[in-house]
């Protein structure tokens, strides 16, 4: 125990004095969140959002009721002008009266045209169309495979993901606002809980937090490198000592976890008080998920660091691919990675720690549902346990074939 405490204390000190570590785990999150703040905050908020003018045409006349329904549903986001022909819509686009055109073809697929070098509004429009087409394709595919019986549960599910809106299936496809589509595309309320209004920029911050939780993997991997004889001289010295290697390593990993948690908490405080990011009222649940996230990060680093006798740079590259790949898949860098993966390969969302952390922060902050929150935490803990066990198995080797 004394050696554990000694290694914990020493590594804690080392991490807080390592400039790289402090940059990536403390300064970088603060810088990036500040950048996100200026890039997104206020862009899609209730008060500051400027409606996107859009011209809508279709291959066949749209019923008046549908037009009204769509206009109402999108009123916070889109300023819709229905035109009788594609040409008329294109005229509006050319004249600058619309930021994009939407055309519903005879198969009810949505085609969006935006001018080159288009604005953020046009990008949102493209996002809406992408989501719409994805939902449409899913419905068609389900109908083809399972008929109307297969379609009904899906429609029911779809209704649940469009909270606070019409409950009749006929309007479900068009009733969701941009915000709903974005939020539902990011995190599906699978347990049917009631959704809430959401500031879209928050999701980016949540993903950011998730990504930074996984940055704990760096200190986890560094701990392995510093204790392994075939990876560093420092490690060689530790391996030659009379202290149990795993005891020292455990102390290092715990210190790595704590340092990352402290960094994240500083980051959260900054985001909340300086940038005004809302994390809801349940602070405890946010802290818990952050801790679970840091734990999974440290375990990930421990696991990757323990794989064979690869070079440190190779292991670093593996970690970066996992962290940034996972963040992209969770939608941090835009796009609808999460929902697409949810449709095509949902298991990826269940094993991607970034997606799980983001989802859990979302659920925790926005009362997205205790069941979902708990499931996410449990999955994260399971992943952490598996990674840790894998790392321990690889670390059990006490002597090497070569150094």
């Amino acid at each position: 125990m004394k050696k554990f405490l000694l290694s914990f204390q020493t590594y804690f000190r080392i991490l807080f004095r390592t400039k790289d570590q402090l940059f990536w785990c403390l300064l970088f999150p603060i810088l990036l969140s500040t950048m996100f703040h200026f890039a997104f905050a206020g862009l899609i908020t209730e008060t500051n959002f400027t409606k996107i003018p859009v011209a809508v045409s279709s291959a066949y006349p749209l019923p008046g009721r549908l037009k009204t329904g769509v206009s109402d549903a999108m009123k916070d986001v889109l300023e819709i002008t229905f035109t009788d022909s594609v040409e008329e819509a294109e005229d509006l686009l050319r004249n600058g009266k619309a930021e994009g055109t939407v055309f519903l073809d005879k198969h009810l697929a949505m085609q969006v045209t935006v001018p080159p070098g288009s604005s953020v509004g046009a990008s949102i429009l493209a996002g809406i169309a992408e989501n719409y087409n994805l939902v449409r394709a899913t419905l068609i595919q389900t109908y083809k495979e399972d008929g109307i019986t297969g379609l009904l549960p899906l429609l029911r599910q779809l209704l649940r993901t469009m909270p606070g809106k019409s409950t009749d299936a006929s309007s479900a496809g068009t009733a969701a606002s941009t915000r709903d589509i974005y939020s539902s595309s990011f995190v599906a309320n699978a347990d049917g809980s009631k959704g809430v209004d959401i500031d879209l920029s928050r999701i980016n911050f949540y993903s950011l937090i998730a990504m930074f939780c996984l940055f704990a993997s760096m200190s986890g991997m560094a701990a392995v490198i510093m204790t392994q004889a075939n990876l560093s001289e420092f490690g060689k010295r530790i391996s030659l000592s009379s202290a149990s290697h795993l005891q020292i390593l455990s102390g290092f990993l715990c210190a790595g976890f704590l340092v990352q948690l402290i960094c994240i908490l500083i980051g959260l405080t900054y985001m909340h008080f300086a940038l005004g990011v809302d994390f809801g009222s349940d602070t405890g649940s946010i802290l818990l998920i952050t801790a679970a996230g840091c734990l999974s990060g440290v375990c990930l680093g421990f696991f990757v660091g323990s794989i064979g006798a690869m070079k440190e740079s190779t292991k670093n590259a593996i970690l970066m691919v996992i962290i940034f790949g996972g963040s992209a898949a969770a939608g941090l860098f835009g796009g609808n990675g999460f929902i697409e993966i949810e449709h095509s390969l949902p298991v990826l969302n269940r094993i991607n720690p970034v997606a799980l952390i983001t989802d859990a922060v979302y659920a925790g902050a926005l009362n997205g549902g205790p069941a979902r929150y708990t499931k996410d935490i449990l999955r994260l803990l399971l992943i952490s346990a598996l990674l840790f066990a894998g790392g321990v198995i690889m670390q059990r080797k006490k002597s090497y074939e070569s150094l």
Partner: protein, 308 residues
């Protein structure tokens, strides 16, 4: 009777002729016929001989027998034998790639080996021999400290890997700092230290817990004469305090200065063993009035071809 292996003999009591195609002979001492001639011929070696015999009477701290280690097709060690006695400074010499570091890593339980036996303090050394390791100190060739910890913290950490008691650890750390002459630099981070100070820190980290057996792997590489002298004096002091030291280096004058016995390793096995003077007598044309340097002997024994 102790065995002094590998002195090469040609004619009785005359010259020892390494480099010729003679067979290595193991001769024993004292009382050996050849040894008698040697003593008579090289009277000045008597004192040295007696000292060696004193050492050989002592118990073995490290016994390595028939150690074989291969890296795939490359045989790094081919039946290495070593017998290091308590309280001696034992020089382990060899050209680059001769197997010194591999041998040390095998002895310390870091590397697996194919066959042979290693006994330290009379017990078999295994990767989990923590009790034995507690009595061993290692000073690696490369400086192995944390740049983020200052001198005192580095020594304290490595000492703490062996010693649990905080008070004792503090005393030992202070002692190691004094020993290495680092008192003025306690709060300095390694990056602020000169090459010589870094080497001394490296040594302090390895010996702070007062080990009985110390492995020093080229501790004086790239240091100035003052630091080197300080380090060598320190090593002698450690021996005086009762430690046994296994010392590897490429600086022959250091070996001449401090080592009681020397083993020269090449191609994974020891090809010569004895005191410095004994090794000098291996010269093909030994002149007692103008004896060769150990460096000459080393080159004569191991050849002048470049090594990897």
């Amino acid at each position: 009777m102790s065995i002094i292996p590998l002195l090469k003999l040609t004619e009785k009591g005359k010259h020892l002729c390494p480099g010729m195609s003679g067979v290595y002979r193991i001769f024993t001492c004292p009382g050996d016929e050849h040894d008698f001639h040697l003593r008579a011929f090289y009277g000045k070696l008597m004192k040295d001989r007696i000292r060696r015999e004193d050492i050989l009477m002592k118990e073995s701290v490290l016994e390595v027998k028939g150690l074989v280690k291969s890296y795939k097709e490359l045989k790094a060690l081919c039946g290495l034998d070593l017998d290091v006695k308590k309280g001696e400074i034992f020089g382990l010499l060899g050209p680059n790639g001769s197997g010194k570091t591999t041998a040390m890593n095998c002895i310390l339980g870091l590397l697996n080996y194919d066959s042979g036996s290693i006994r330290v303090f009379g017990q078999e050394m295994t990767p989990s021999s923590y009790d034995i390791r507690r009595r061993i100190g290692v000073v690696p060739q490369n400086v192995a400290v944390s740049d983020e910890l200052n001198v005192q913290e580095n020594i304290d950490f490595f000492c703490g890997l062996y010693v649990d008691d905080k008070k004792e650890r503090k005393l030992l750390t202070d002692r190691a700092i004094d020993f290495a002459g680092l008192s003025q630099f306690r709060k300095f981070r390694p990056k602020k230290l000169s090459g010589g100070l870094l080497r001394r820190l490296n040594i302090a980290c390895g010996i702070a817990h007062r080990p009985e057996l110390i492995f020093l792997d080229e501790p004086t590489v790239a240091v100035d004469p003052q630091s080197r002298s300080h380090i060598l004096d320190g090593i002698e002091k450690l021996r005086e305090d009762g430690a046994t030291i296994i010392y590897t280096t490429h600086y022959m004058e250091e070996v001449e200065q401090i080592c009681d016995r020397v083993a020269i390793i090449d191609a994974g096995k020891n090809i010569a063993l004895g005191t410095v003077d004994e090794l000098k007598r291996l010269a093909a044309h030994y002149d007692p009035d103008n004896p060769p340097t150990l460096n000459d002997i080393f080159l004569e024994i191991t050849g002048k071809q470049l090594r990897d």
